[in-house]
């Protein structure tokens, strides 16, 4: 690799509002902020708008019925409208590496410097306001064999189908506790794949507990109708949907061959000894989600721990302001709640930003926010119930993380090795100090795929809560960046 410092100095670019994430929250915020006369740039790492929820097919593909069904219709309408926002700049295939406060920023001037990596080098941006709407990702679950090719995040399987129109396997097993895995099983079948089983760790009565809430059932009838039709289609396709069962081991040397399944009792205890082995070449893991709050933590905005709603999630006020003036948060960054919530939060954040920039009167903002806040309250009741019925419990994951399972896949550290290190070093009781001790979290994924497991292992070993263990410190760059690109930056 050639390093030529100073050969190409990127010019500084400016925006009033820089939105990170072009998913439902980011698109809704961009549309609303644009409507309020704010100069907006939206940055996203993917090649197209839409976020993970609407992973678009490549522009060169033509599809007659992409993502059919009511689940996607509202966000798809927003996606179509967002293409018409002529003054909004969309910076795609671009990764935000860091957000830095500008020292002694005068009123009306940029308060933040944002370093963005692209295929063509590094860009240096300045913005008065930043909205972090980074979405979430599937909770990585650690168990023996989880790094064998063929084991995937269920959302990753879904993205191949949604976007690339590829069925990434012949015979699938989905294992987890989140109802989303039924949706994904259905999409696999529709795309021509075979689903050997969908396994839920919790009991059927717990998974269906929402149905026993008449008010919720009434208010969210559409969702239940969709779920019922999916279950009917899965039954017709002969897909077994089983409860109180979990995949405890993935088997195969070079490629997944089968999964070992064990029973789980009502207390979430995994019964010893695998009861069954199911042959498959692709396993999708679908328990829960983690918020992508790395940048929120990097700027030192307050986060709270909520295991069921995304781990470390950003705190905010009723205008979606984070604890740092000028930084706003929306969507799954504030707690996993789905695309409907994300879109409303995005709009509300745009109002908050316009208010703070002096482009909107408080009375007018309050007026517009009324119905948004009402929607958010209603949606939050559903999201909370959904997260309760779909979270197995912390002890469930502790049992999966047996000593032979790899905790940190990048540094190839096993849970047994980490536990031994903790035993030998009784003073270690935080995730960050465990990282320094063991190298867990120092690899290319920067701890995204081990921090939950490391936190659980430390918490369990020391008898602490996750918030006492604290997450890994989040530093610049938020994703790996080449030295060559870094040297293009001034100052």
């Amino acid at each position: 690799m050639s390093i030529n410092p100073g050969t190409r100095q990127p010019e500084t670019m400016k925006a009033e509002l820089l939105i990170i994430g072009a998913g439902p929250a980011g698109m809704a915020a961009a549309e609303a902020a644009h409507g309020l006369g704010i100069d907006v740039v939206v940055v996203d790492e993917q090649a197209a708008r839409g976020g993970q929820f609407l992973r678009q097919p490549p522009a060169s593909f033509k599809l007659t019925d992409w993502l059919p069904g009511k689940t996607y219709s509202k966000a798809k309408t927003l996606l179509a409208r967002s293409a018409e926002l002529s003054d909004v700049k969309w910076l795609l295939r671009a990764t935000v590496a860091g957000i830095f406060p500008v020292n002694n920023a005068q009123p009306g001037e940029a308060r933040f410097r944002i370093i963005i990596d692209t295929q063509d080098g590094t860009q240096d941006w300045q913005a008065r306001s930043v909205l972090i709407a980074g979405g979430c990702y599937d909770l990585p679950v650690t168990f023996p064999g989880w790094t064998i090719p063929g084991v995937m995040a269920a959302g990753g399987i879904q993205a191949f189908i949604k976007s690339q129109q590829l069925v990434p396997g012949q015979r699938f097993v989905l294992a987890g506790s989140h109802p989303l895995q039924l949706v994904i099983a259905d999409q696999i079948i529709q795309a021509g794949g075979e689903v050997a089983a969908v396994l839920f760790a919790q009991s059927q009565s717990r998974a269906l507990s929402l149905v026993r809430q008449p008010l919720t059932l009434w208010r969210h009838a559409n969702k239940f109708i969709q779920m019922a039709s999916i279950l009917i289609r899965l039954r017709k396709a002969g897909v077994p949907v089983r409860f109180n069962q979990a995949v405890v081991q993935a088997n195969g040397a070079e490629q997944l061959q089968s999964v070992s399944v064990a029973s789980v009792n009502r207390q979430g205890e995994i019964l010893k000894g695998a009861s069954e082995e199911i042959e498959c070449d692709r396993l999708g893991i679908c328990y829960s989600f983690l918020s992508s709050a790395e940048l929120v933590r990097q700027v030192n905005a307050n986060c709270i721990w909520n295991a069921r709603r995304g781990g470390w999630i950003a705190q905010h006020d009723h205008w979606m302001r984070s604890s740092i003036a000028g930084i706003y948060v929306a969507g799954e960054t504030t707690g996993v709640a789905g695309s409907d919530t994300a879109m409303v939060e995005g709009k509300l954040a745009a109002l908050g930003c316009a208010l703070d920039l002096g482009q909107l009167q408080l009375s007018s903002a309050e007026q517009q926010a009324l119905s948004m806040r009402r929607d958010l309250r209603r949606l939050n009741v559903f999201a909370e119930l959904l997260s309760q019925l779909s979270w197995p419990n912390d002890a469930f994951f502790d049992q999966l993380i047996s000593d032979s399972s790899i905790v940190c896949k990048c540094e190839e550290l096993s849970a047994g090795e980490l536990r031994q290190m903790l035993q030998d070093n009784p003073e270690i009781s935080t995730a960050s100090s465990a990282k320094l001790l063991s190298r867990a979290g120092m690899g290319l994924c920067q701890g995204r795929y081990c921090h939950h497991a490391v936190t659980r292992v430390v918490a369990q070993t020391r008898g602490l809560e996750e918030q006492e263990v604290v997450g890994f410190t989040s530093r610049f760059p938020a994703k790996p960046l080449s030295i060559g690109h870094l040297t293009e930056l001034k100052g």
Binding site: M1, E45, Q46, Q52, P57, P58, S60, F61, K62, L63, T64, D65, R93, T95, D117, T118, Q119, D120, G121, Y137, D138, P140, T147, I148, P149, G150, V151, M152, A153, G155, G156, I157, A159, F160, I161, Q164, Q165, L166, V167, P168, G169, Q170, A191, G192, G193, A253, E254, Q255, K409, E412, L444, C445, R448, Y449, K479, P480, L481, S482, G484, H485
Partner: protein
């Protein structure tokens, strides 16, 4: 692994690229991960301990799907996330390469300049 062959899908134009020095056909717009999986390739790289790895998150976060790639007409390889890079006609990809810890450490005869995680998207020449 099958592409969804339903008639409601019309793919992009056919392109060809080199995978492990073998010519492979694909469709414009596909990611490198799709190209490889459609060929039945599941081992994308190997760890320092020799363990096989392949796509996990398919959204650019886990770095499990990294492969060395050279842009058309270039002979320098860079490690890229296969799920994040769109296939171009004439690209060269190597699968099963070891994630070498040292920059420049050759992992195959062709791989003389690859650095794991050296760049997010692989800078265009």
């Amino acid at each position: 692994m099958p592409r969804d062959n339903s008639t409601r899908i019309q793919r992009g134009e056919g392109i060809s690229l080199m995978v492990d020095e073998r010519e492979v056909s694909a469709y414009a717009g596909e990611t490198l991960a799709t190209v490889l999986l459609a060929q039945g390739i599941t081992v994308f790289n190997r760890t320092l301990k020799g363990r096989p790895r392949g796509p996990y998150c398919n959204m650019g976060g886990c770095f499990e799907c990294q492969v060395p790639m050279a842009y058309p007409g270039a002979d320098t390889f860079n490690w890229v996330r296969a799920c994040m890079v769109t296939a171009d006609a004439g690209m060269k990809i190597v699968t099963g390469a070891t994630l070498s810890a040292q920059p420049g450490k050759p992992t195959t005869a062709e791989l003389t300049t690859a650095t794991p995680g050296g760049s997010i998207a692989g800078k265009r020449p």
